[in-house]
Symmetry: C2
Amino acid sequence: MLPYKNLLIIDKNSDQAVFNQIAMQFIHLIQEGKLLPGTPLPSTRALALDLGLHRKTIVAAYESLVASNWVDNLPRKGFIVSPNLPVVRPRSYHNGRIGAYETDPGFEYAQFGSFPYPSSLHQKDEIIIDDGFPDITLLPGHVLLKEYRNALDPVVLKKLSTGWDIEGSSDCRNALCGFLNQTRGIDIKAENLLTTRGAQMAIYIAASLIIKPGDKVIVGDPSYIFANMVFKELGAELIQVPVDSNGMNTEIVEEILKKHRVRLIYIIPHHHHPTTVTMSVERRTHLLRLIKNYQLAVIEDDYDYDFQFQYEPYLPLASGDHGGNIIYIGSLTKVLGAPFRLGYMVAAEKFIHAAATKRMLINLRGDIFTEQVVSSLITGGELTRLIQKANKVYRQRCHFLADLLSTELSDVVELTRPNGGMALWLQFHADLPLTKVLEKASVRGIKMMGSVYSRDNNAPYNALRFGFASLDEADLSKAVGILKTSIRQLK
Amino acid sequence: MLPYKNLLIIDKNSDQAVFNQIAMQFIHLIQEGKLLPGTPLPSTRALALDLGLHRKTIVAAYESLVASNWVDNLPRKGFIVSPNLPVVRPRSYHNGRIGAYETDPGFEYAQFGSFPYPSSLHQKDEIIIDDGFPDITLLPGHVLLKEYRNALDPVVLKKLSTGWDIEGSSDCRNALCGFLNQTRGIDIKAENLLTTRGAQMAIYIAASLIIKPGDKVIVGDPSYIFANMVFKELGAELIQVPVDSNGMNTEIVEEILKKHRVRLIYIIPHHHHPTTVTMSVERRTHLLRLIKNYQLAVIEDDYDYDFQFQYEPYLPLASGDHGGNIIYIGSLTKVLGAPFRLGYMVAAEKFIHAAATKRMLINLRGDIFTEQVVSSLITGGELTRLIQKANKVYRQRCHFLADLLSTELSDVVELTRPNGGMALWLQFHADLPLTKVLEKASVRGIKMMGSVYSRDNNAPYNALRFGFASLDEADLSKAVGILKTSIRQLK
């Protein structure tokens, strides 16, 4: 018998169960070649005696090794190191270890084309230009902490644990109904609302209930890339309709509807993504008429309605007369920030019920903890106060950045000052090599996380979204300065 | 001109914008019949003067009314109440109001068959028998509060906000890798792990990458209902393989594999759901061989591995030699409770990358806030301490309940004491009208939230899962007493 007492080190204070420690160390001994295939292991009784452990522990360790195929238990012979190891095992080496995961599994599965995945590795002091996200430092920290403390109260936790509302907690849905009615004129009951993990999940669920492979879906050109990806993933054929300074061209939409059976239209009438334009009254009226005439399913994505810098004449289309055909989608992520994702879907009651069932298959009981915190923020008025505070700050930053760009970069950039939102849409002259500019800027400490379309990268536009909400004036100045230097260097 | 100064009440302290208040009140005047179709509205200048507001505000209100179709803006005539109201509007009445959502939309969409949706309405003092959920009062409240306070620190929030790891935060994935290695002998890198909203999202994502409509999927009989629902929703044909006291019958699996092309097998080798049996070593070894021979995609759902009351000889199949074909799925929900849902998927690196892309389409940036809290709980050792504490308590409750049932109900109930987990599988005599028993028990204050299969409701079994973890001994006694009384009443 090998000197197992020395080979197998048991740490009784370890988090790992003793049987497991023994099993893992046997595996290492086999991997290191100290125990060769076919070698008999000591009897459970002998090893238990040797190590000063209960025999049951050794039995557990051996059975675990048998279950994971390292050891065979032969009639009469007892436990031996599996003789088949050298032949069958090397394929599953990973990182020098046996029994783990290869890079690619042996079965078939859906893969996605290359996608410009964002990277989260930031340099220190890097200025991050995002797609339009809130300034997290505006959050009322003490209020959030209070609400989290309240939600962690055992009585509250117990209530949350035993509850199961498949459309989201009724407290949160009622709070959101009130909020949507006050801010957007949408008059609904809780039965018309489903909570989701951000607007993205609402888009995914709504689209997955509507789209069958081969279905035609109208989207803007350009449009929100993560919505387009969802529709394509569900097998839709996208029909792109130009978005100009008055929003999506509804005359073209009507022409398409006359010729094709369209299953769904995806619109962002308020601060269109990425171009930030707002759809005109005429087109809204026209679109509402088309929606009713064609009984068209509509997803109205209203991701940053809460940020309006002046009297805003446009309520969502969902507050108008659409016969229940508009699925209205929004999110509090743009108010509270990415750590606190809470989205919602507003639609006809039966559609919400189907969507809730789908949500259950994806997210079972939803995010009842965040819902608890958010409903308190709404009913306590903190959400509205935060929106008001943020609007003032963002309005100032918007104009500061727009002024700065007009002064510093008017020879290469065009922009239309939006009446709200969190980002500027910068259209660069067609011959400016935007990708190269951003490479130069990156070296100087600018990280571009937002949407970029560049002609030198085969995009049909030469433009980017510049999120101004999360940067203060000093950082905005610095960012524009770096962009300017990078552009000058390439001209 | 109507006395608008009296009709339109402006509340300058309201959260609702003034233009919006005016628009909403015009809608009410129209709904109440005070303003009839075709009625001209006062000019913006006149109304502004009348109400003592800036004209821009009135313009905004009118344009909002035009956009939502209540008012028309005619050349030369100006703004009039839309003449088409009475004909087109009544269809969209909802709750006595116009302009909202009908019960059913006009377009087609996928609907789900009737499903026994859980209800969250509880009576006071009702004893809730769940499917096997933790006792939330065991959570270390002060530790959780500390971790939430840390996560709400502006520096941490800023880091979370600007990060974007599509597989989940690297801190959390690294912490989980360590935890899985220590507790389950699974040796992986962070690249092999994706975080999800609970195990359910991991099941949904993995299945959606693998299953195409018409594909055959092997599941246990019985099996976890929410997994079966996912597979069916994705168009799979389910092949049910009996699960006996040694787990899923792998001989039958092999027969099926010889005859059919099977795309996926879904297994719960540890504490099978709902029957709580653990798969034997022989069948595990057999199954691992089949997985490799047939290059079969496998979902190993290991939902309550962390709860083991004795030396447990069974490591997950995923820790064995499977050529990267096992997708291992687990969750911390059974440890932390439903308010804190964090699941994970372990698989080959390329599969994880595809799954991360799919997760992005569903949940964009994931739940970075919960991940922050959970990774601190893991690295600080609190998670392990909680599991150890809970195991002691649950073990005691398990035996207490099993003893009680043997004493009180042995004439109608059979059960096998599980070696861990959070629920007992109670098999009632075939002629006991289980649905009726539970109705009687419900009147006496028992709410059944867990899985119930009853013969008097056309199920092939007469059994239920009795979650013992969340109830103390007093409640367990009371629950068994009520069940006994209800059964006696019907015999």
